[in-house]
Amino acid sequence: MSETATVLDTATAAGAAEPRRRGRVWQRLRRNRAAMAALAVVALLVLFALAAPLLSALEGQDPTTFHSDLVDSATGGVPTGSFGGVSADHWLGVEPGNGRDVFARLAHGARVSLGVAVGATLVQVALGTLVGLAAGLGNRLADTVLSRAMDLVIAFPELVFAIALMAIVPEGFPRPVLLMLVIGVLGWGAPARVVRAQVLSLRGLDYVAAARLGGSGRWRVARREILPGLAAPVITFALLRLPVNVASEAGLSFLGVGVRPPSSSWGQMLSTATTWYETDPTYVLLPAGLLFVTVLAFTVLGDGLRTALDPRAASRLRAGTRRGNAAPRRAASAARPGAGVPAAAADAATPPRTED
């Protein structure tokens, strides 16, 4: 009984039908201090990325020019000066080896890191919503086939496949776009499962039945009645998935199969930093710190939004349930109508670790 109420709560929370609900969600989110701090950090990061050309112009530097005069060739390229060569011209120092400006590279790297993550998340959510809708609204055969496909995709060793896929794409293809597609295409399983679960539970609700009795066709029901109800779980999922994708991009670039110089991303900077951490720790700590703060901020924000959307389930557990995450079969069976959809959604959205 309370489960149905919870489903309704989440289903309509961000739906177009009740704007007042949306206000309430925002109010609850605002009371969550950690989430608001995270939101501020996220806003700053986005600003940092968007204003990258402006900021580096302000500094008077660009991310690709070599400054061989600022590194000590006797030590193999350690920047001269303290903290990795910090100066009035180079606010955060220069890259060891060839002396590219670190601040400009961090700022431009932010565009790649965040851009790839946002793009990959959109691809995942779009594909997932499509497949989830098809599975949830289609006939039994379609549902079985698609559900097995979801299990298969979720079970894939994502990192291994991503690395392998990077091998078969021609050299000239723009790396950030490629990263976005690879991370996106490999990650549609979890959102599809969330959407399918939500569709199944919405399908059994009275107002959908009423619409069908009222003569609405299958497509109309899907578009007018089901789709709005998907907004809340999908948005929550996307927000929690974003930091995972940031980490995935960083990981792939760190391994040397992602973004390559002269382009920069935080992961790419870290991959060159591995040989310098003894002589130039600043160069390691800067991208590392940014990466950590970004992932943490998005995770806290996503967590906060989930709580705001569904305070009851959240106070009961605050994260996940015993089904879900564990094995594909269980999450699929948890996805039956009335089986506590927000919990299942929450679980599938819990960031998986990127190793290994």
Binding site: L152, A155, V160, A164, A319, R330, D356
Partner: protein, 329 residues
């Protein structure tokens, strides 16, 4: 139960078949010609045709796949007149760049990943499950808030970051540990362990955070169930309720997750290997990707996928053993 096992085995084999077909098609149907890559620069007409014939890439794709499958079961000969290369069963392919069967390359590196995974597993189970239980049982207190915060921070840190920072701290600044360098356990168990401490820690920390989170929510859910309430109503001491009744239910999903995670890591802990410079399966894959050595890429990918699929099956069976309702579903 027997029917469940049977059904699960059949579906596992099916999934493996589908998976191998997908992987094979993905990598061999792409525009690049593996023969040109295997043959090297300046390879022309006749010689290229010979290489192509030897690799079997002159055959239609389904025929190649069939040869590949047969090679898995019965071994395979790469035939090019006088120059025949034999690859014994189970043949995962043959790397002409290294002139070695792929399976041998994989098994040579497997001990690295097995060492990494098993050691890390012990740490993260103790730390993770312990933290999770503690924060579930101390609900609402300062301990719980602290643990939840730590868990979130732990989950937010990419593994290679932890590895790098640990190495900076313990090897470079404090100098307490040597820079990790993989030593086989058979050579010197003490050095093997000393070199693996940092990789274990970095691999275990993020997993510990995830397991803590999962254990906590699972324990809380179990504690809210009817049979626990009944136990309380009978006046059983809390300690007996937790240890005797709640723990089993709460840890079941953790065990299944464990099976899957171990399966995944055995297929290559790429990031950890890279940070510490270990030559495991993950590095093998990355190097093969950088040199476009397709047989190795396909072999390692399939091998990793096999681990995952098998681990999934094991997880399901474990779950069914712990919770017989699943087998009936």
């Amino acid at each position: 139960m027997l029917r469940f096992l049977l059904r699960r085995s059949v579906s596992t084999v099916l999934v493996l078949l589908v998976l191998s077909a997908v992987v094979f098609t993905l990598f061999y149907a792409t525009p690049g010609d593996p023969a040109i890559l295997a043959c090297g620069k300046g390879c022309d007409g006749d010689r290229l045709a010979v290489v192509r014939h030897k690799l079997g890439t002159d055959l239609p794709l389904w025929d190649q796949y069939w040869h590949f499958l047969r090679g898995l079961v019965a071994g395979r000969d790469y035939d090019a007149g006088a120059d025949t290369t034999h690859c014994a069963a189970p043949c995962f392919g043959y790397s002409f760049q290294y002139d070695q069967p792929v399976l041998g390359m994989i098994t040579a590196r497997l001990p690295v990943d097995v060492s990494l995974t098993l050691g890390a597993m012990v740490i993260w189970m103790v730390v993770g499950v312990g933290t999770g239980l503690l924060s579930a049982l101390r609900r609402g207190g300062a301990t719980e808030r602290l643990l939840t915060g730590l868990t979130l921070a732990g989950m937010s840190t990419p593994v290679f970051l932890i590895g790098l920072l640990l190495m900076m701290a313990f090897c470079s600044w404090l100098g307490w540990l040597p820079f990790p360098q993989y030593t086989p356990i058979a050579d010197d168990p003490a050095r093997w362990a000393a070199n693996l401490v940092l990789p274990w820690l970095s691999l275990a920390l993020i997993s510990a955070a995830a397991y803590a989170r999962m254990t906590r929510s699972s324990m809380l859910e179990t504690l809210a169930e009817d049979h626990i309430r009944t136990g309380r109503a009978y006046g059983l001491p809390e300690r007996r309720i937790v240890a005797g009744h709640a723990l089993r239910g709460a840890l079941t999903p953790v065990i299944t997750l464990l099976a899957i995670d171990v399966g995944g890591m055995l297929g290559g802990a790429t990031l950890t290997e890279t940070v510490f410079g270990f030559d495991g399966l993950g590095r093998l894959l990355v190097n093969a990707v950088n040199h476009i050595d397709l047989p190795v890429v396909v072999g390692v990918t399939l091998f990793a996928a096999f681990f995952i699929v098998i681990a999934n099956a094991v997880a399901d069976v474990l779950y069914a053993v712990a919770d017989p309702r699943v087998a009936l579903a």
